[in-house]
């Protein structure tokens, strides 16, 4: 229990911008024009960003076998694949991250087959000409179902019903 708590109101410490600039900045940031401008900027940089995702995907492939590095690379891919326009890649990476996180919580070893399936799906999705293809979305859904199934198995310690 603290002896005394000091409250410092916003007026009592230096602010990021003056009050008059805050109004101007806020108006711009909340405008649809700013959002559109930002979206255009991302669009223009998207090829560069996709190359960045693919660099991480190559590193992910090389990391198979080392769970910590694999999880780290999947985390990076999940972080910006979708922003780079590689939506399915991001979704599959998200599924893999979730699998690692849940298995860590259970204190269980991840199944290498689940990891390999995810990694190969990420590789295919990231390098597909038409990334938004239905195939990638279907694969993402199927892998999400596989992860749910595997987690249920781990939780109960029994093989889950494979319906």
């Amino acid at each position: 229990m603290t002896k005394e708590t000091q409250h410092i109101p916003p007026d009592a410490y230096p602010q990021m911008v003056s009050k008059s600039d805050a109004v101007k900045i806020s108006r711009v940031l909340r405008s649809s024009e700013a959002v559109e401008r930002g979206a255009r900027a991302i669009q223009e940089a998207s090829e560069h960003l996709r190359e960045g995702v693919r660099d991480y995907v190559r590193e992910l492939e090389e990391a198979i076998g080392d769970h910590e590095i694999t999880a780290g690379k999947a985390h990076e891919i999940r972080g910006f694949a979708e922003t780079a326009g590689l939506r399915a890649t991001g979704r599959i990476a998200n599924g893999l991250c979730r699998y690692f996180e849940e298995m860590r919580k259970f204190g269980a070893q991840p199944d290498p087959a689940v990891i390999t399936l995810h990694v190969s799906a990420i590789v295919r999705a990231a390098n597909a000409e038409d990334e938004a293809s239905r195939m990638s979305d279907v694969v993402a859904k199927e892998l999400a179902a596989l992860v749910a199934h595997k987690l249920a198995e781990t939780k109960t310690g029994l093989p889950a019903n494979s319906d």
Partner: protein
């Protein structure tokens, strides 16, 4: 767009992923922010801040050798901190509650979840500009007030000596 207010803003991006740094820079540039520094981890960022102060920090959570949590704690608590009141937006893909709570307790101002969109980034900055948070200093914490709202009928427990000061008891 009126760019003058943005042109004076100095932003530091702390992120180990070079492409993510590039994405954030692109978005900040798109609204007219020009003074942007980049650091690959918390330790480098602290050194940069001692050389050149900034007005806003966008920091990743998971970095090595110093992650976003330790970096935020240093900004808030170190006697060598250039500005302990600096707004910090923590960018994270981590959904684990524990990590987010640790970052909050280190004094983070706002959170921004990946994947980032222009709208999500701009609205976090707007939030900081529109509603600067009061700060709290006690034995165990220094940073933005972690209580976002006051509940009219909150029954307690009251933990601060002045919690009851402004209550109007009939």
């Amino acid at each position: 767009m009126s760019g003058s207010a943005f042109e004076v803003l100095r932003v530091l991006i702390v992120e180990d992923n070079q492409h993510m740094r590039s994405l954030l820079r692109t978005l900040l540039n798109s609204i007219g922010i020009r003074e942007i520094q980049e650091a690959g981890n918390g330790a480098t960022a602290l050194e940069m801040l001692r050389e050149k102060p900034c007005d806003l920090v966008l920091s990743d959570l998971a970095m090595k050798p110093m992650d976003g949590i330790d970096f935020s704690r240093e900004i808030r608590q170190s006697p060598r901190s250039a500005n302990p009141f600096m707004p910090i937006i923590m960018i994270t893909g981590h959904t684990e509650k524990q990590r987010v709570e640790m970052a909050r307790d280190a004094g983070v101002t706002e959170f921004l979840a990946k994947p980032i969109t222009p709208q999500s980034l701009f609205s976090r900055i707007a939030q900081i500009v529109e509603h600067p948070r009061p700060f709290v200093r006690c034995d165990t914490y220094f940073g933005p007030d972690r209580r976002r709202k006051t509940l009219d009928h909150y029954p307690g427990p009251w933990r601060r000596h002045d919690d009851l000061r402004d209550l109007h008891v009939p």
